[in-house]
């Protein structure tokens, strides 16, 4: 009971903090716009024909996933900030378990990331996708499943890092491969076979596929059936939460 209350408390804190950061809120509106409009229109002519789907529509679920990925990994920074500003001590001496601290932070980060990812849906009309509320609501659980694991990765890396700078460097090394290999920007069938295998290991691949299946229903031929994507994501989340809890529990 008290553990649940602790988790709720830490979740609430992350969400409150996020809501008060105006610059981050604004930038989260602008970044996906750049990708969809500038990158999307630039590549449109070159890339449409092959999938049979308009390129901007094609990358739309990819950009949602990208926003989720980048934001989630970035959430790890809260561990470093809390350590830097001393607040981590207050949490760690509180009579709740380290696992609860981790889960509270993870859920908070996921909530923030999903809110950020939802902003992207506002732009769906710009690329000519007509989204109903039902599509959005169907996407929500997938978005959450993507972020649980990714935020866990971010928090885990941050608990191993000494400084803000080193976290910044590592973050890029994690973000870009996961993003490019996921098929967010191009169909995976373009890859040579060996790269195809690598992208099969990228959990985001399944997230992108699932979101595409839901958002571009009918137009997109899923790589895997939806339930299979979900299963992979659930296994990924469970593993990352477990690993994260163990590693976070050991840090001082």
């Amino acid at each position: 009971m008290s553990e649940l209350r602790g988790i709720y408390t830490l979740w609430l804190r992350e969400v409150k903090r996020y809501g008060r950061e105006k610059t981050r809120l604004i930038s989260s509106f602008i970044q996906p716009l750049l990708w969809l409009i500038i990158f999307g229109s630039g590549m449109r002519l070159a890339a449409t024909g092959t999938t049979g789907i308009d390129y901007q529509k094609f990358i739309f679920p990819g950009i949602v996933s990208q926003t989720l990925l980048f934001t989630s990994i970035f959430m790890g920074i809260s561990v470093i900030w809390d350590r830097e500003f001393g607040f981590m001590k207050e949490i760690l001496v509180a009579p709740i378990s380290r696992a609860s601290v981790f889960v509270g932070k993870m859920l908070g980060g996921s909530t923030d990331a999903v809110i950020q990812g939802s902003f992207v849906f506002v732009y769906s009309f710009l690329v000519g996708i007509h989204l109903g509320l039902d599509t959005f609501l169907l996407s929500l659980p997938i978005m959450l499943l993507i972020t649980f694991g990714m935020v866990s990765i971010g928090l885990t890396i941050a608990s191993l890092m000494e400084s803000l700078e080193s976290f910044g460097v590592i973050q890029t090394f994690v973000n870009l491969p996961l993003f490019f290999l996921s098929g967010a920007l191009f169909p995976l069938s373009y890859f040579p076979q060996w790269l195809g295998w690598v992208s099969a290991v990228d959990p985001l691949t399944y997230g992108v596929d699932a979101l595409r299946t839901i958002i571009l229903s009918g137009q997109w031929t899923p790589i895997l059936p939806l339930y299979y994507d979900i299963l992979v994501l659930v296994v990924f989340d469970a593993t990352m939460i477990l690993v994260g809890t163990l590693i976070f529990g050991r840090t001082k």
């Binding site: 409150k16 903090r17 207050e90 949490i91 001496v93 009579p95």
Partner: protein
């Protein structure tokens, strides 16, 4: 010192420290401490930076495991039941530990939730502790708008929310200006009277220990070198402190020693510190001696002994000449002023 400890009236004090030891590699940071803290007492650990105060406190707060020995707080062993101990204690860390993106009240609410204070009690309690540190009207402002002193007060208030039996304060006024420091002292004295609570604080400010504490343990290189009420520690020196400024410290001290005029004599940089029984009578004698030697005395003063003199008496060093704390103070200010 041992006799004084066994003089404790209560066989089961609030805190019982038994052979508490902590090593870092080959360094013995805390060397087999033994003492008790009575319920309701304000107890001070006084010593220079690096003496082992914070290490001792960290072990009492279950943040750090003792290498050997243990401490019993309100009947619970810190080694074996750390989480039970944590529920009974409040901690105010040396470095700031608040979330400055949240308001004061939000920080307090979060603490109440983390410590499982029932929400019906929590609301009233938060107002109560805010009142204690006089921050009611600032409670709904973001912490980043608070001054260093206000943050400290809020941290003290926060440490009290869950009705702890013992409140630990690690250098409660480090990095604060003298005026704010006195303010904080007022709050600490007030809360020790109003709340039924035992307070343990560390400090390297003599004045702080003197003003706030019922008893003080002077700690140096991980050992307790004296433990008593501040008054008794000072009385223990039995006399007045005379400070003589002169260019020829050596010569004069030799002579004074030979004459057997003084109880205790310490030379520091261009200064001679003497502890004498009857200062008023000794001062003219010192002048006579100096004149006889042809030693020029720049100035001379006499005062009642302070805890500083007690420390000097036991260690031969002055607390303030220890390097670290200035840096620490500055670092603390710097950290407080960031955002």
């Amino acid at each position: 010192m041992k006799e004084k400890l066994s003089n404790l009236t209560n066989p089961h004090p609030m805190i019982e420290i038994k052979d508490l030891t902590r090593n870092f590699g080959t360094l013995v940071a805390v060397n087999s401490l033994n003492f008790g803290v009575e319920e309701g007492e304000v107890f001070g650990l006084l010593g220079p930076n690096g003496a082992g105060k914070t290490t001792t406190l960290s072990m009492l707060c279950t943040i750090l495991k003792p290498t050997s020995g243990t401490a019993i707080i309100n009947g619970v062993d810190v080694r074996h039941h750390p989480s039970q101990v944590r529920k009974m204690i409040g901690i105010v860390f040396q470095d700031p530990s608040i979330d400055d993106r949240l308001t004061g009240r939000e920080n307090l609410e979060m603490h109440a939730n983390l410590y499982g204070v029932p929400s019906t009690v929590g609301k009233k309690r938060i107002d109560e502790v805010l009142g204690l540190v006089e921050l009611e009207d600032k409670a709904d402002l973001l912490m980043r708008t608070y001054s260093g002193g206000m943050r400290r007060r809020l941290e003290i208030a926060r440490g009290l929310i869950h009705y702890p039996k013992v409140l630990f304060l690690d250098e409660p006024t480090i990095g604060l200006d003298p005026q704010t420091r006195e303010h904080i002292w007022t709050y600490i004295s007030a809360l020790s009277k109003r709340e039924s609570i035992t307070i343990v604080l560390t400090t390297h400010y003599m004045e702080e220990a003197d003003k706030l504490c019922d008893r003080v343990a002077i700690i140096d290189y991980g050992n307790i070198i004296a433990l008593d009420q501040p008054e008794r520690l000072k009385e223990g020196l039995e006399g007045d402190v005379i400070t003589v400024r002169t260019g020829s410290v050596r010569e004069l001290s030799e002579e004074l020693r030979q004459q057997g005029l003084v109880k205790d004599l310490k030379e520091t940089d261009g200064e001679l510190k003497l502890v004498v029984k009857n200062g008023a009578a000794i001062m003219p004698r010192i002048v006579e001696l100096a004149t006889g030697l042809g030693v020029h005395i720049e100035s001379m003063s006499m005062r009642e002994p302070t805890l500083e003199d007690v420390f000097l008496h036991f260690t031969g060093r002055e607390i303030r000449t220890e390097g670290g704390e200035e840096y620490h103070g500055l670092a603390a200010i710097k950290r407080r002023s960031i955002r």
